[in-house]
C-alpha cells in the first residue's frame, strides 16, 4: 500500500466521501486521514456541508394535488382521450 500525501488524499476525498473508491484506495485515504488533522478537518467540513444540503433541499415531497392531477391525466391518457 502506498502512502498518500495531502494533495493525493484531497484529490480522492470527494470520491471517498461519496463511497465511490476502490477498497484499496479507501484504505489508503483512511490511513492518511488518521494521521493528518488538517485533512480530517477538511473532510468533516465537506461532510457536514453535503449533509446540510440534503437536509435543506431533500425534504420536499411531491404535493398531493399534483400527484392527483398526474394520476387523472394518466387515466385519461389510458382511456385514449
Amino acid at each position: 500500500m502506498s502512502r498518500l500525501d495531502c494533495e493525493q488524499a484531497l484529490a480522492h476525498l470527494q470520491d471517498y466521501l461519496k463511497q465511490e473508491l476502490t477498497p484499496e484506495l479507501v484504505a489508503e485515504v483512511r490511513v492518511h486521514l488518521e494521521e493528518c488533522r488538517d485533512c480530517t478537518g477538511y473532510a468533516r467540513f465537506e461532510e457536514s456541508f453535503v449533509l446540510m444540503l440534503e437536509i435543506r433541499a431533500g425534504r420536499e415531497t411531491c404535493p398531493k394535488e399534483l400527484r392527483a392531477r398526474i394520476m387523472a391525466a394518466l387515466r385519461a391518457e389510458a382511456r385514449g382521450s
Partner: protein, 189 residues
C-alpha cells in the same frame, strides 16, 4: 427478449414511486414551484406514452430523470435567464476551509443560513452544475447513475459536482459574511 411491457399496472409500480425525486429535481431545475409541477406532469405523460421503450428491470428512476431533464432543456430552459459559471479552475479544493480553519472549522455558519437562502444559492448555479448537485447531494445518487441519466461521462459528473460545491460554498460564505454570521477572512484566497 421479453415483450415490452404495456402501460398500466407496471407503469404505476415502476414510475410512481419516483414522483418525490422527480419533483425535487424539477424544483431545483426550474427554481419555480409552478413550473416544477408542470415539468413533472409533462415528464410523467411523456414517460407513459413511451413506456414501451423502457426495458423492464433497468433503472426506472434514471430513465424518468433523463426524460425530465430533456423536457426541461427543450421546453423550459429558455424561459429563464441562464446563470453563468464562475471561473473556479484555479481554486484549490479546500481554499474556503483554509480560511475558516481557525474560526469555524466545522462550517457551523452554514446552519445559520435560512433554508430559502440555501435554495436560492443552489438555484443560481448554472444548470449543468445544479442538476449534478441535485442528483448527487440531494438525491444521493451514485456517479454511474447520474452519468447514465444525464448522458455524460462519469469524469464530467465528478468535475461538475466538484465545481458546483465550490461555487455554492463561496456564495454561501459571502452571504454569511454579509449577514454577519461569520467574520470575513483577513486575506483573500
Amino acid at each position: 427478449m421479453a415483450e415490452p411491457s404495456a402501460p398500466g399496472r407496471s407503469f404505476d409500480q415502476e414510475a410512481l414511486p419516483h414522483l418525490d425525486t422527480l419533483y425535487r429535481v424539477a424544483l431545483r431545475l426550474t427554481a419555480d414551484p409552478t413550473l416544477a409541477e408542470d415539468l413533472v406532469q409533462d415528464t410523467m405523460l411523456k414517460a407513459y406514452r413511451s413506456w414501451r421503450q423502457y426495458q423492464p428491470g433497468t433503472n426506472a428512476r434514471g430513465w424518468l430523470l433523463t426524460i425530465l431533464r430533456n423536457t426541461f432543456i427543450n421546453d423550459y430552459r429558455r424561459r429563464k435567464h441562464e446563470p453563468v459559471a464562475m471561473d473556479l479552475e484555479a481554486v484549490e479544493p479546500h481554499a474556503l476551509y483554509r480560511s475558516l480553519q481557525e474560526t469555524d472549522p466545522e462550517g457551523t455558519f452554514f446552519s445559520q443560513i435560512v433554508d430559502a437562502k440555501v435554495l436560492e444559492a443552489i438555484d443560481a448555479l448554472p444548470t449543468e452544475f445544479r442538476e449534478v448537485l441535485a442528483l448527487s447531494d440531494i438525491e444521493g445518487m451514485p456517479y454511474g447513475e447520474i452519468a447514465e441519466a444525464l448522458k455524460i461521462p462519469v469524469g464530467t459528473v465528478k468535475s461538475r459536482l466538484f465545481r458546483a460545491r465550490r461555487q455554492l460554498q463561496t456564495k454561501l460564505y459571502a452571504h454569511a459574511v454579509e449577514m454577519g454570521y461569520i467574520k470575513p477572512r483577513e486575506t483573500a484566497p
